[in-house]
């Protein structure tokens, strides 16, 4: 009947989208997709809210007030498999992972020239995938330092097709996958002529910083220390030493000397974490933590801001326009921790003092050069990274027993707990199974 003649007539493509077969034709296409992956990170499931909420509100330095229902259930440890925020962080993380995996997979068949921009794009794609894998592994699997053989997240080496089956890897396998990606990112960045992107992208220093973070979480102190040092070397910034400088990091749009990488949100992107700290939000500091920060501490004015804290924003925009991902003090604290863990207390004390002295913290001038320095490093890390979504993850790898939900649950062994896989994922029948007996590790009122 000559039906093939009609095929042209019967082919209609939307004008606001392109077919998936046309998505990776040029280097610009790869870069556009990388920007899409970055943009995804700004969604409510990750840096727009939930990743920061998990890190802060589910641990012991911040708590939920009753002003709002935002993120309330998880903050008060009412956890179930159908929770919307658990679903959101799982779904958004895998969107980032899938979108970067598509860049990586399509690069293998890309026929065009591997220009410097192309290589920089791939370096970032690998780094982003490692970054997102790090968080799903840490939320849905046990800490590496607790049990590396426990079930972790799903490694997405190549994009998952609708006909594929998938399975959870062990936590150790997840970490190996992250390290492979970090190594790949570094290989691309090592190629001659590849540019180093600015602070809003996964630049060379940020990849080292990520490597340091991942290896620190694995307890691989010598390599974490080396990576952190490389990051500092590559970055070349300096610590802020006055309250004005520290405040300016948050309430102006000027770039600070401490920022290795910040996430740049667009003006139209929701940034609900900012609202969480507002007058009708849901977040507040635990008072005892706040009282550990003396008035002389240069961080004091920001934390004692009646609203928003680090998200007080610029004069122009209400919400802060960017969210820190890697900052210089984290690297010093990592180095100090690695030194302390290896029994090098003197060096650890010296490294810690770089941070404590710059901040005029309660520790400044009181740092012990013995094993007590580890506790001091943990305290300084808590004060320094408040509101940046780190505390939950640190507490778990340190296997701390903490008080959560504003002290309702005490001595909670948080390293034993991992969040349940979202019911929708398990019910889809593609092979991801629920963590056995995850409810047994929930906190209990003692």
């Amino acid at each position: 009947m000559g039906l093939t003649a009609c095929d042209d007539f019967l082919t209609e493509a939307p004008s606001d989208s392109i077919p998936d077969t046309e998505a990776f034709n040029t280097v610009d296409d790869f870069i556009n997709n990388l920007n899409g992956a970055y943009s995804t990170m700004g969604g409510e499931g990750l840096l727009g809210r939930d990743l920061l909420c998990f890190g802060d509100l589910c641990a012991d330095a911040c708590q939920h007030n009753t002003a709002s229902f935002n993120f309330q259930k998880l903050a008060v440890w009412s956890v179930n498999e159908s929770d919307d925020d658990i679903l959101a962080i799982w779904r958004t993380s895998y969107q980032v992972i899938d979108r970067t995996a598509r860049i990586i997979a399509n690069a293998e068949t890309f026929a065009g020239d591997a220009t410097p921009a192309f290589n920089a794009c791939l370096a970032q794609a690998h780094a982003l995938r490692a970054w997102a894998t790090f968080y799903v592994t840490n939320l849905f699997g046990l800490p590496f330092t607790r049990n590396p053989e426990a079930p972790g997240a799903v490694n997405v080496k190549t994009p998952v097709a609708t006909t594929d089956k998938v399975a959870r890897s062990t936590v150790a396998e997840n970490y190996a996958f992250m390290l492979d990606d970090i190594a790949a990112a570094q290989r691309y960045y090592a190629i001659q002529g590849v540019p180093d992107p600015n602070v809003y992208f996964f630049n060379r220093a940020a990849v080292y910083a990520l490597e340091a973070r991942v290896k620190l979480f694995m307890g691989n102190y010598p390599e974490a220390l080396t990576a952190a040092q490389k990051a500092i070397e590559q970055f070349g910034g300096s610590m802020a030493t006055t309250a004005e400088q520290y405040s300016a990091m948050w309430n102006t749009s000027a770039m600070s000397s401490e920022d290795i990488m910040r996430f740049q949100r667009s003006a139209t992107q929701t940034h609900s974490y900012y609202f969480m700290w507002g007058p009708s939000g849901g977040a507040e500091f635990v008072f005892s933590v706040l009282s550990e920060i003396p008035e002389t501490d240069i961080r004091y004015p920001i934390y004692n801001n009646t609203q928003y804290g680090k998200f007080c924003g610029t004069e122009l925009g209400n919400a802060t326009l960017s969210i820190p991902m890697f900052r210089l003090p984290e690297l010093y604290l990592t180095i100090a921790e690695c030194q302390a863990a290896q029994g090098r207390y003197n060096e650890a004390a010296q490294t810690l003092s770089i941070v404590s002295d710059a901040r005029h913290s309660a520790l400044s001038g009181h740092i012990g050069a013995d094993e007590s320095v580890m506790q001091q490093i943990q305290n300084e890390r808590k004060w320094e990274t408040l509101q940046e979504g780190h505390r939950l993850f640190d507490a778990r790898r340190w296997k701390l027993k903490i008080d959560v939900d504003g002290g309702k649950y005490r001595n909670f062994d948080i390293a034993n707990f991992c969040y349940p896989i979202p019911a929708d994922e398990v019910n889809s029948g593609y092979g991801v199974t629920q963590t056995d007996n995850w409810t047994a590790a929930l906190p209990e009122v003692i």
Partner: protein, 1037 residues
């Protein structure tokens, strides 16, 4: 047999007439063919002369001054086919056939015309008179009830409002459920192209006008609703939800005939449910004082506060959430300033009566080779709620020409509707919301005559729709239809036709948030006045070629074959812009605004290529067979399933043609049984649903970003509906016609979003997995109850019973919202609510069943489980119509009804609150029925200030039986006799008066304006159904 004898006799007499050519006087009688009753007032004219007369009361006529060489009489009568008869000597007996009978005899499928007798499928035809009867802007409302299986969900009574329509039930959950509309062979775009909401242009239209509303009912010759597989499968992938074929009027050769019709009258709120009225000042004060006392008893108010209320009312402002003005007057209400407190009836201010008028003029005529029909129409309906109203201008030119074997012509139709359409949502720009959410103590005007409340941030419905400075929600819809065609008679019985169609449906919406909208007033300035303009245009292009072979062999075998090919393209383009910061409300164009807010555009297209065939055969008008096949290729389907076959088989057996039935033929004049089976499709699955897509608009750090937005499913295809139909048609005594059809429609491969592992970057993929079933019985009965010389009484009864069941979904998990559930085994849109158990007579506390009726009750709504409670779509519906005619007078009424379903009024959480809405407006129902003392048996709990009993929360307290019967239309008319017409030099003249929607009977438990709701049974602050009283006149020259 009787009629055959009559014809035979007429023929013989006429034959004799040839012999006696020169006669000067002719006499005779004019009768109706179907019952041989004499026709009074029939016009009998000698052809091509002015000589003639009208028949007397017994149908007799005499013409004495017969001009020489007169050979032919022209006999005409309203509602009958005009006949030309040879003049004969002696008394002539002339029988006329009724017009409607002619219409009944054919079924227009859009691709061809089939004699109804030979049609094996299920279809129902409505003639022009039935279509014109309703005064509604949307002529489809005249089909409601009258056409079995045709169901409209009129969620809004607003003129021109979009109403979801289904034929034989809802056939899909996630794809389209609207029938296909075909006008003169050209498909019409009928999607909702309504206005877009402020700042959220990507959301569904908040208001809507059905482009079909642009159709002028006066241009319609007939409407045919095609239902089963035989009738619809030739439309293939678009026919799953049935097809509505509209045929417009064509020219007739002869002198130009001019028709003029006018209607004018008022539209108004026909009935107000006294339970749904709100309290005036006295009662408002009374119930709130009681509420405050109960609130004190319940501990919601301290003793100190109570004292303050009683003495000064001062502290009220701190504990009530009434808006600023309500607060101020609330204080006064409990104060000594009692006489200064306003008493405003906001419902009365929101609802009004308006003018309705319609004028239509048409000319019809032509020569043997060219005929024409041209019309102009104007319609206006002012609407019964402030801020609404509709005007429509329409014009049509239908041209047909013939030249030898070739025929050609064009249908041209342009119509413009201009609708002020108030928002129907729960927003404060809906005047009905404001009517129910503004307290009687709130004033319309300040003492200085300016509008009250606006500057304080409260909505004032009078101010909001102020002509000068108010809000505007305007939608203009321009529909242009160009439809040229060409035919060629290749040989006797073999005809070619090419039909081209272009329809352009364009909507231009302008929404303006004016000076009196409180959100325009910020920081002491009217700086936030906002305007949006949006333009949406749907173009459909179609080109159809058909070859038709229609022959009779040996006088016994009848064959009718159609082969065809068709191409179609649909494009949908939209443009939206929004700006704010107007200096005044007078300069409304966006260019006057200071700040652009947003702009966006979009374009979508789909194409369809089809081959089709239809085959009909009958033997001696006794055995009928038919079959059709269509092969559709659609751009919407996945690449592995681009082409879709659809087919049908049907058969019919006319028992009354058998010799053994001859004995009962006086009783059973006609009996046919028919059956059909086949498959049709639903391609309304989205424009690009099968494709894997990447989209932009995901920027990072001001650089463009792309993300995958849709995962490919190359196997995605149409939904298939397998339709089975069996039925019979019987005619008794030539007077009672009965059509009964049983149908079973099974939707297969229903589209669902099937969950996917999220590690793929997606949560779901669109797949063909679901199944649904609609089973039902349709009955249509037409009775000529009485027919005498001067009096006629006709009765029509239509009834449909439909049972819908979801058979399979993507997963076994039901889809639950906070008021309904979709699950296998239940009907689509089954209500799923916590079940209300009434009020505890001892305490006045609300009660709910913990797990449905029969389970223990609880006073804590959180302890109650949601349970399934009835369905949203009617189980049965239909109509009863009666026509009476006495001499020139006629009287008719039509009632339509529907039942077996429920309606859920979500707005009742505010309208029927029992004190939880502090100082909020209170309904009469709550006032009259509230629990006051132990022992009170009622369903309205105790009225408590700030009560947190949960009584206002969503539960089956707001679920009501939606059964109703509506007096849809009453008409009283008078046709001037032919003699009088002649004196007035008119062809015909009719005057009438009619009332639409005179009264609606509902169940006692029903509260509200109207039990009709959206397809999911949900209603809140809907635009009431209007009654319309009209006077009309039709004149023909």
């Amino acid at each position: 047999m009787k009629s055959l004898r009559t014809i035979l006799a007429t023929y013989l007499i006429a034959g004799n007439g040839m012999i006696f050519a020169q006669i000067s006087t002719v006499t005779g009688v004019v009768i109706a063919e179907e019952d041989a009753m004499p026709l009074t007032g029939a016009t009998v004219m000698v052809k091509n002369t002015d000589v003639g007369t009208v028949t007397d009361i017994d149908g007799n006529f005499t013409i004495t001054n017969l001009p020489p060489r007169s050979k032919t009489l022209v006999v005409s009568f309203v509602g009958m086919i005009t006949q030309e008869v040879e003049i004969t000597a002696g008394p002539m007996r002339i029988s006329l056939r009724s017009n409607t009978e002619v219409l009944e005899e054919v079924v227009i499928t859009g691709y061809g015309i089939t004699r109804k007798a030979a049609f094996t499928g299920a279809a129902q035809v409505l003639d022009d008179k039935a279509v014109r009867k309703k005064s509604d802007a949307n002529f489809l409302k005249s089909l409601e009830g009258s056409v079995a299986g045709f169901q409209m969900m009129n969620a809004s009574g607003q003129p021109g409002a979009y109403a979801a329509t289904t034929i034989r039930g809802t056939n899909s959950l996630n794809s389209g459920t609207e029938p296909l509309y075909v006008i003169d062979g050209v498909p019409m775009y009928t999607g909702n192209l309504g206005g877009m909401s402020f700042s959220n242009p990507s959301s569904a239209p908040t208001t809507g006008v059905n482009p079909i509303t642009n159709m002028n009912a006066n241009d319609i010759e007939s409407v045919t609703v095609l239902k089963d597989a035989t009738a619809t499968s030739i439309y293939g992938a678009r026919a799953a939800n049935g097809v509505v074929v509209i045929t417009t009027k064509r020219g007739k050769s002869g002198k130009a005939r001019v028709n003029f019709s006018a209607k004018f009258g008022r539209t108004y709120l026909g009935q107000m449910d006294s339970n749904y009225d709100m309290l005036g000042l006295e009662q408002f004060k009374e119930i709130w004082i009681e509420g405050i006392q109960n609130g004190y008893a319940a501990g919601n108010i301290t003793a100190d506060q109570l004292k303050l209320y009683a003495t000064q009312g001062e502290d009220l402002s701190n504990t009530c959430n009434a808006a600023a003005f309500g607060r101020a007057w609330g204080i006064a209400m409990f104060n000594a300033d009692w006489d200064k407190v306003p008493d405003t009836d906001w419902i009365d201010l929101a609802i009004r009566s308006s003018r309705v008028q319609e004028y239509n003029v048409s000319v019809q005529g032509g020569t043997e080779s060219v005929t024409y029909f041209a019309s102009l129409g104007y319609y206006e309906n002012g609407g019964i709620v402030v801020g609404s109203g509709l005007e429509r201008y329409s014009g049509r030119l239908n041209l047909d020409a013939r030249s030898g074997r070739a025929g050609y012509g064009a249908f041209i139709n342009i119509s413009l509707s201009d609708v002020d359409q108030i928002p129907i949502s729960s927003s404060y720009t809906n005047p009905i919301v404001l009517a129910y959410d503004t307290r009687p103590i709130q004033p319309v005007y300040n003492e200085d005559g300016t509008y009250a409340m606006v500057k304080e941030g409260d909505y004032n419905l009078v101010a909001l729709y102020d002509k000068q400075n108010g809000d505007i929600y305007n939608l203009k819809t321009l529909v242009t239809i160009l439809n040229p065609y060409f035919t060629y008679r290749i040989m006797d019985g073999l005809n070619w036709k090419t039909n081209a169609g272009l329809t352009i449906t364009e909507t231009n919406s302008f929404n303006f948030r004016g000076m009196n909208n409180p959100s325009s007033y910020t920081s002491g300035q009217y700086s936030s006045m906002t305007g949006t303009k949006s333009n949406r245009r749907a173009n459909t292009y179609s080109l159809t070629h058909t070859l038709n072979y229609d022959r009779k062999f040996n006088g016994l075998h009848n064959l009718n074959v159609i082969l065809g090919q068709e191409m179609q393209k649909l494009t949908l383009a939209e443009l939206y812009a929004e700006a704010k910061g107007y200096p005044y409300a007078d300069v409304k164009e966006l260019v006057n605004a200071s700040t652009p807010v947003t702009a966006r555009s979009n374009y979508q297209a789909s194409t369809l290529v089809s081959w089709f065939s239809n085959f009909e055969y009958n033997y001696d008008n006794k055995y009928y067979l038919s079959s059709s096949f269509r092969y559709d290729g659609s751009s919407r389907f996945g690449k592995n399933n681009r082409w879709a076959p659809f087919w049908s088989f049907g058969g019919k057996y006319r028992l009354t043609q058998e010799p053994f039935m001859a004995e009962v033929s006086d009783v059973l004049s006609d009996l046919m049984i028919h059956a059909s089976y086949g498959s049709v499709g639903n391609q309304d699955i989205g424009y690009y649903a099968a494709q894997g897509l990447y989209s932009y608009g995901y920027p990072y750090n001001s650089n463009p970003g792309a993300v995958p937005t849709q995962i490919e499913n190359p196997d995605l295809k149409w939904e298939t509906v397998a339709k089975f139909d069996i039925g019979f048609n019987a005619n008794f005594f030539h007077r009672l016609n009965l059509d009964v059809d049983f149908y079973n429609q099974r939707t297969k491969d229903m589209i669902f979003n099937v969950p996917l592992t999220m590690t793929s970057g997606f949560s779901n993929v669109t797949k063909n997995v679901g199944e649904m079933e609609n089973r039902g019985i349709e009955t249509v009965m037409n009775i000529v109850a009485i027919r005498t010389n001067h009096f006629r009484w006709d009765i029509s009864l239509t009834n449909t019973y439909n049972k819908n069941t979801i058979v399979a979904m993507a997963t076994d998990d039901p889809i639950i919202t906070n008021y309904n559930i979709q699950r296998p085994g239940s009907a689509v849109n089954t209500f799923y609510l916590k079940e209300w158990a009434g009020v505890d007579p001892a305490t006045g506390e609300p009660l709910w069943y913990t797990n449905g009726a029969g389970s223990p009750t609880t006073t804590n709504i959180n302890s109650a489980q949601q349970v399934a409670l009835g369905q949203a779509s009617p189980v049965y519906y239909g109509a009863l119509g009666m026509n009476f005619a006495y001499k020139g007078f006629d009287f008719s009424f039509d009632v339509n009804y529907s039942g077996g379903n429920q309606v859920f009024n979500r707005g009742f959480q505010y309208d029927l609150h029992c004190g939880s809405y502090k100082l909020g407006p209170v309904s009469q129902y709550v006032y009259k029925n509230r629990w006051k003392q132990p022992g009170d048996q009622t369903d309205v709990p105790r009225f408590i200030w700030g009560g947190n009993t949960g009584a206002a929360q969503l539960s089956s307290r707001y679920l009501m039986d939606a059964s109703y019967a509506r007096i849809k239309n009453i008409t009283l008319g008078y046709n001037l006799s032919a003699a009088l017409c002649k004196i007035l030099r008119t062809d015909h003249l009719r005057v009438y008066t009619s009332v639409d929607n005179l009264y609606t009977f509902t169940k006692k438990e029903f509260i509200g304006f109207d039990p009709q709701a959206k397809a999911d049974g949900y209603v809140q602050w809907a635009y009431p159904v209007a009654a319309t009283a009209l006077f009309g006149i039709n004149i023909g020259f």
